[in-house]
Every structure is written in structure tokens, then in C-alpha cells.
Symmetry: C2
Subunit: 274 residues, 2 copies
Amino acid sequence: MARRTVFFLSDQTGVTAETLGHSLLTQFDEHQFDQITLPFIDSVDKAEAAVRQINAVATEQAARPIIFSTLVHNELRQRFMHASGLFLDFFNTFIGPLEKELQMKSLNRSGRAHGMKDSGAYDRRIEATNFALNYDDGGKIRGYERADVVLIGVSRSGKTPTCLYLAMTYGVFAANYPLAEDELESTDLPKVLKPYRDKLYGLTIAPERLVQIRKERRATGRYASPQQVSFELRAAEAIFKRWQIPFVDTTSFSIEEISSTILSKTNVERRVRP
Amino acid sequence: MARRTVFFLSDQTGVTAETLGHSLLTQFDEHQFDQITLPFIDSVDKAEAAVRQINAVATEQAARPIIFSTLVHNELRQRFMHASGLFLDFFNTFIGPLEKELQMKSLNRSGRAHGMKDSGAYDRRIEATNFALNYDDGGKIRGYERADVVLIGVSRSGKTPTCLYLAMTYGVFAANYPLAEDELESTDLPKVLKPYRDKLYGLTIAPERLVQIRKERRATGRYASPQQVSFELRAAEAIFKRWQIPFVDTTSFSIEEISSTILSKTNVERRVRP
């Protein structure tokens, strides 16, 4: 099968074009794609340079490139109409129906989907990120009243990346608390967590996967041993069940899926939108 | 102007539907939208519940809802064809042209764009996130040889969130080093950074904005004073120029924009794709 080069074109960061294009390409996963992002195409010169780059690839390769574009300006977009490639236009395809529905013209200016629309949203995300860093791994335990959610689970069950993702993407204040060995030996809920029962969300993971993850951190010793890992996970799940704490198994989930599961299963509000 | 409710429908996390919808809605920014994400619609029952929710909103409000969908399965998607709303169908619109171009059928299975396609990509992102946490704020300085990029700048210029975003989104190993007062007083490059000159990238920011950001952290004292802030920023920029370190002004940039600027201006490779 001929390799294909895929271009992501944007007048801004390219994050939207990549996200959309990528979600379509996963539907063809036995195909090989070489991916090139061309961000910040905000002038005719840059557009023409991009067209030349696309045409050069088309000449070299057996199959023409696929082009995913979120370009907003007609003047720039038009340059690509005759580029050698399949041009898939995310902006133009949907903006017409939306204008008609809303009975107003679009601003027709560079997408600021990932831009600094207001410094308020930026500040909320940074504040949430700092919160996640301060309240990581039980680092601080006073101040949970400010948390939207407190993730609990054993070491390396995915708490830290999930908290950071919730903070950076949604501006959610997420703390996390690792269940320590002595806490796992009883099925009591750690005292510090008791006042915040309605904010708790548990993470668990398959023992084989956790052994693998822990081995990368510390190859030998009890920490990554199958016996220890099984004991910890069984004990953590017993705590979740006894205290009716909702929990999610992270084994085959990405950070995005874990985060969006937590948001959809709780009443935690997004403070910003991606 | 009538308020509009916008629904984001997905059989997975909803991240792609939100990204698409949000990038289009920013083109109508004087309009008010109420946004509801309905993720994990993976059964006929859930699809029908979603249709009822959409129709209820349509009945209550003056204007019908707008629906952004990334639903993959025909059977589920068809339930929404007669929902009261403008149905914008991301998947179906683009998958046909792609199938034709690639001369193959799509897998037609739930989008795993934000799913756990392979645990390798997950591991790389987690590893990069742990690296960013360990090498945050000059916390560790041995090991910069493992870094893809080392961000430098004064306190609160955006280094930490940018490193975390680069790690979580692209699996890039990003360290950061804060320029301390004594280092700013000379325009010499800190000794520890000298071997890694080709990995350095500077962040700067407008003094007024930095004063505002620092005041939120510590309201009084020299740290957030206009004189101190101006001195630090001038000195940092002098270092960037003297040592020919590329730098970006983060004042009106989002974390996504700063990150994608750095990637597009350097040869740092993405280890994973969003």
C-alpha cells in the first residue's frame, strides 16, 4: 500500500486540524501516514510556500497527499484549491450551515479556538494547574475544600496525569491522595478524606498492567511484585466499595477517557472549554 | 438574541466534537451558547435518551439546539436525524471522501482518537509528564541531556504549564529553568545551561501582565513590583539576545499557542500526536 503524507494546515496552532484529522485517520489504522503540521499560515506568502511543499511531496510519492485544513480566510484557503491533494476543509464545510441557522455572518477571522480569547480562561487553567501541582500525591491535605474532585488510588494508578489533564483542559481543581500501605491494611477511609467523601473518585487498574508500570520505575523489590500489587488493588477496591466511592478502571483508558468519564459521572463543572 | 444550546455528541470522550464545535462557535462570539457534552453514547438506549434531552431543550427555548456529532455508527447516528436541532455530522461528512481517496473502507468503529490505541503512546506521555514534573523550576539540573527542550525565563512567565502541555499532548521531554536574580544581574548564561545551548528556548512576557500574574501569587513586596518585574524581564531578554536563544512573548498567547510556536520554530519532534 502506498504511504500517504497528511498535512494539517492552520492559521493558528494546528491543534484543531490535528485533532479532527487524527480522529478520521484512526478509522484507517492499517494504513501508514506521514504527518506534517503547518501552523501559523497567516499570509499569502506562507500559503504559497505550503502549496509548494505539498506539491513537492505529491511529485515524489505515488499517492497524492491528504490535506486537513482549518484555515479561515478565503484568500488563503483558495490557494490550496489547486494543490495536488485531497483538500478536506473543516471550516468552510460547517460555517455556512451555522451562519444560516444563526442568521448572522461569522467573524471570518483566524480561529482563536486555542488562542488567548480572554486572560480569564488562561488564569483559571493556570490556577487549576498550580492547584494540581500543590495537591499532588497528598502533598498538601489542607485545602481540599477548594477541590472539585479528589482522586484516590494506589501508587501509579494514573492520578497525577489525570489531575493535570483535568486542570489544563477544563480548569477543574483536582487533588489526589495516594492510599498508603497502612491505610490499605484497614478498610477504613483515611481520616483526612472523611469530610470530603462526596468529592472522592477512585482509580483502579489491572494488576498485570500496574506491575508493568511499576517495574519501569523500580525494577526490583516488593513495589512491583505481583503479590504486593494485587494486595494493594484489592484493598483499594474494597475501600471504594465499602464507602460507596465511584471508581474507574484505567487499564485500557487514555488520560482523556479517564478525565471525561469522571466529568460525565460527577457533577464537576468545566470552568473552561477546550 | 435568543440563547442557543449546543450539544456535543460522541460515542467516546467528546473531546473531538468539542474541539470542532468550539472552533466554529468562536466565529460567532457575540452570541451566547449553553454547552452540553454527551459522551459515551454507545447504545441505542443512550442515543434515544440524548434525543429526548435535545427535544426537551428545543421545546423550552425559542431557538432549536445546534448538535455537533462525531458518532461513528450509522445505527446510532440515524436516531438524531429527526431530533429538533441543526445536526452537524463531522464523521459522515469526511469519511466518504477519505474512503474514496484511500480506496478502502473505514473500520467504522468507535473513534479511538482519544482512546488507548497502544499503551506505548500512553507510556511515552506519562514518562514525559514525570520528566516535566521532575525537571520543573530547576528542580533537577542533572539529566538535561534527556530533555528535548529546556525553557528558561523569569518566575511566572509560563514555563511550567508549557512544559506540562508539551509533555501531555506531544510526549515531548521539556525541562524548565528559572532565571534567578543573581543570574539576571550578569548577562552571563548560567553555567549549568551552557552545555545545552541548542536546547534552550526563552519565554518572555509584557511587564504589566507579569505584575498582574505575580500579584495574584503574592500581593505585596518586591516580587510583583513594576520596577522589579521590568528589571527581570529586560535582563532575561538581554541574555536571550546575547546568547542567541530563540524566545517567544507569551503575553497574548495561550499555552497551546506557546507550545506550538516552540515546536514549529525548533526541530523538536512530537513523540505522540494529539
